[in-house]
Symmetry: C2
Subunit: 379 residues, 2 copies
C-alpha cells in the first residue's frame, strides 16, 4: 500500500468570528491548504469534512464555494474527534488506492453561533444535573491528585506552558503570557479548574491536503509522511469509575506506535487533546511520554516544554489555541506539517522529526461512547 | 483488491416508533444483521453509522449497547444519502484491506422526534419562503410534464405500484393497496403532488454486514457481492434552472456501470431515491432504464413492475416503505441482499441476479450542494 503524505495545510485563526459564516471559514482554510500544496482544485479526488454542529452536506457546500464538485464527499462527526476522523477517512481512501489526492476539512462555529457554550445532549440526565465537561474533568483532576499527589500548581504550569506556546502562534488569539498565580487566582469554574485551566470556546477551520506517494513528490520536495492513523472507540475516561486514564487512548497509541515502528521516546512533538489542563497531564501519561502519575513531575521539570524531551502542545493546544470541535483534529495535522517542515516560526520545535497528534471525542457525560484518534507523522 | 460481499442484513419496520429511542431502533437492526451473518460481534472490525439528526457519537452508542467497542467508528452525514455513505465507508475500508468485516448502520427518528416534518435549514431564505421539499419536487414534476407530456395519471401509477410492492413487504407500514383515483383525489400537497405522491415521515433503522472475499464465504455459502459503490457530489436536480434531471446521478451511475462492467439493461431490480413520485420517474431515466422523457410510458406499460424489465422499488421504495433519512440507504442494501438471495417473500423479484441502489442527499433547497450514491450488487 502507498505511503500517505501531507502536502498542504491551511487554517483560520481560532477565535470568535461573529461576522463570518462557518462555510466561509472552512473555505478560507481549504483554499489556503490547496494554495500551499500547489494542487489544482479540480485534481482533488475525495473529501471528508469533520464537524459536530454545522448542518447537512457541509463539505459539499464548502467545496462548491471553491468550484470543486462531483467528487465523493463524506461529512463525518465524532464529537471532538470529528476533524481527526476526516483526516482518517482521507488517509484510508488514499491507502486503498481509491484516490491519489484528498482534502480533509474541519470547522466549527461555537463561540458565535452557540452563545459561548458547547451544546449539551438535551435529553441526558447527568448533563442536565450538572455533569458538564468542566465538572467531568474536575473529577478527573481530583482523582489524579488523590492517587498520585499531583498538585494544582503542576496543573497550572500546563496552562502557563501552553499559553507561552500559544502567544508564539499567529493562529492563536492570545497575545499575553500568564503566570501560575494568575491561573490559580482566575475565577473558579469547577474546582480545582479555574477559567485559565479550561480551553476557550472558539470558531475556526483547518484543512490539509493528503496525497499518495506517487503524487506527493510531484507537488513538493518537502512532504510530511502521515505514517500511522488509528481511530478507536470506547469510553474516554472512566471518571466516576475509579480510573483517571483513557483506556481507548492507551490502546490507540499502542497500535499507532506498532504501525509506525517507533515508540513514545521517538516523539519530538505532540498535539494532544487538552481541553482542560488535567487532560494534557493524563494524556501525556496515556501516550507513554512518562509513567502513570509522573506527569506532574515532568511538567515541573520542563520536559514537555518547547525545548524539552517532547514538546507538548507547541501550537498552544486546545487550551491556548482554542477548540472549535471539528477543526481541532485537522489543525493538529496542519501544525505537524508546519513543524516537521521547520516552518513554525516562533513556536518551532528545534529539530522536530517525528510528531504525534491525538484527539478524544465524546465518551463522557451525555456521550457515553466516544472516539479517539492517534496519528504519527514523520519527516 | 478484494471483492466485497454483503453477508448479513437487518432492519426495523419503518413507521412511527414513538416509544422506542433511536439508539434502540439501530441496536435492533444491527443485532438482526449480526445474527443473520453469523459473525460474532467482537469480530466486527470497523463501523460507519449514517444519520442526519441523531446527535454525537451515534454509532458508538449503538454498538456499545451490543457490547461492541474499541473499533473505529465513523458517524457520517450526507442528508438523505447518509446511510449510503456509511455503506460506502465500510466498502472502502474493506477494499483497502483495513478490515475484513465491517458494519454499516443507518437510522433516523423523524416521525416521532421532529413532529412529522423534516427539519429545514433554519437560515435558508428560500426554504423559509416556501421552497420546501414538496414544492421543489412539484416544480420538477411540472417541468417534466411540460417538456415530455408526462401526465398526472402516470405519476400516480408510480405511487400505486410502489404501494402494491410495499403491502407485500413486512418492513413497510402499509397494508392497503391504493388506486390511481385515490392518489389523484388525495389532499393536494404541492400541485401536482398529492399526499399519496409523497413519502411518509418515518422512524427506522437498518444495518448490513460487509466482508472481504477471504472471510465472506466462511460465514455463508450465499453472499451477495457489492460490486460497485460510487459516491458523488453536486447539485441534485436543476429545478428552477430549466433542467429536470439529476446530473450527479447520471455521472455516478455511469461510473458504477463502468466499474461493475454491466449496463442498465442488466439490472433486474432497483431501489432508488423516490421521496416523491416524480423522483422515481426522473431517476429511472437518469439511471438509464429508459430514454429521457419515456418514463411515463414505461410506467404505463408496467415495465417497472415486480414482473417487469426492471423491478423498481420492489420493497415499496421511499414512497411506500418510508424514508427515515439515515436508514434509507442501508435499507436499500438490506433489500438487495434479501432479493438477490431469493429471500424477499411476497415481494420477491423473480430470478433477480443484479440489483442497483441509488440515493440522493441534499442538493436542493437549503442544501445547495449534495451527495449521490449508486451501488451495484450481483449474485
Amino acid at each position: 500500500m502507498t505511503a500517505v503524505y501531507v502536502i498542504g495545510a491551511g487554517m483560520t485563526q481560532f477565535k470568535p468570528h461573529p461576522q463570518t459564516e462557518v462555510h466561509e471559514l472552512a473555505r478560507q482554510a481549504a483554499w489556503a491548504a490547496i494554495g500551499s500544496s500547489g494542487v489544482e482544485p479540480r485534481k482533488i479526488e475525495l473529501a471528508y469534512a469533520g464537524h459536530a454542529y454545522q448542518g447537512q452536506c457541509f463539505g459539499q457546500k464548502v467545496l462548491l464555494r471553491i468550484g470543486v464538485t462531483g467528487l465523493p464527499v463524506v461529512n463525518c462527526e465524532n464529537a471532538c474527534a470529528s476533524g481527526s476522523s476526516a483526516v482518517w477517512g482521507v488517509f484510508n481512501a488514499i491507502k486503498a488506492g481509491q484516490a491519489d489526492i484528498g482534502i480533509a476539512i474541519g470547522a466549527e462555529k461555537l463561540a458565535s453561533a452557540k452563545g459561548g457554550f458547547t451544546p449539551l445532549v438535551a435529553d441526558d440526565l447527568e448533563s442536565s444535573l450538572g455533569r458538564v465537561m468542566p465538572s467531568v474533568f474536575a473529577m478527573m483532576a481530583r482523582a489524579h491528585m488523590e492517587r498520585y499527589g499531583t498538585t494544582v500548581e503542576q496543573l497550572a504550569r500546563i496552562a502557563v506552558k501552553n499559553r507561552h506556546n500559544g502567544v508564539r502562534n499567529p493562529y492563536s488569539p492570545w497575545r499575553d503570557e500568564i503566570t501560575v498565580d494568575q491561573v490559580l487566582s482566575a475565577p473558579m469554574i469547577a474546582e480545582p479548574l479555574t477559567r485559565l485551566s479550561c480551553c476557550p470556546v472558539s470558531d475556526g477551520a483547518a484543512a490539509v491536503i493528503l496525497a499518495s506517494e506517487r503524487l506527493a513528490k510531484t507537488y513538493t520536495s518537502n512532504p510530511v509522511e502521515l505514517r500511522a492513523a488509528v481511530l478507536g472507540s470506547g469510553i474516554a475516561n472512566g471518571v466516576g469509575m475509579a480510573d483517571d486514564h483513557s483506556e481507548m487512548t492507551i490502546r490507540a497509541a499502542k497500535r499507532a506506535y506498532e504501525i509506525a515502528g517507533i515508540g513514545p521516546e521517538d516523539i519530538d512533538l505532540c498535539e494532544l487533546h487538552d481541553p482542560f489542563t488535567i487532560a494534557e497531564l493524563v494524556h501525556c501519561e496515556d501516550l507513554g511520554f512518562c509513567p502513570p502519575g509522573e506527569g506532574g513531575r515532568y511538567v515541573d521539570e520542563g520536559r514537555f516544554d518547547l525545548g524539552g524531551e517532547v514538546a507538548v502542545s507547541p501550537a498552544g493546544g486546545l487550551l491556548s489555541r482554542g477548540h472549535p470541535l471539528g477543526a481541532t483534529g485537522v489543525a493538529q495535522i496542519a501544525e505537524m506539517f508546519w513543524q516537521l517542515r521547520g516552518e513554525a516560526g516562533a513556536r518551532q520545535v528545534p529539530g522536530a522529526k517525528v510528531g504525534l497528534a491525538h484527539t478524544v471525542g465524546g465518551g463522557v457525560t451525555g456521550i457515553e461512547a466516544g472516539a479517539t484518534s492517534v496519528m504519527i507523522l514523520v519527516k
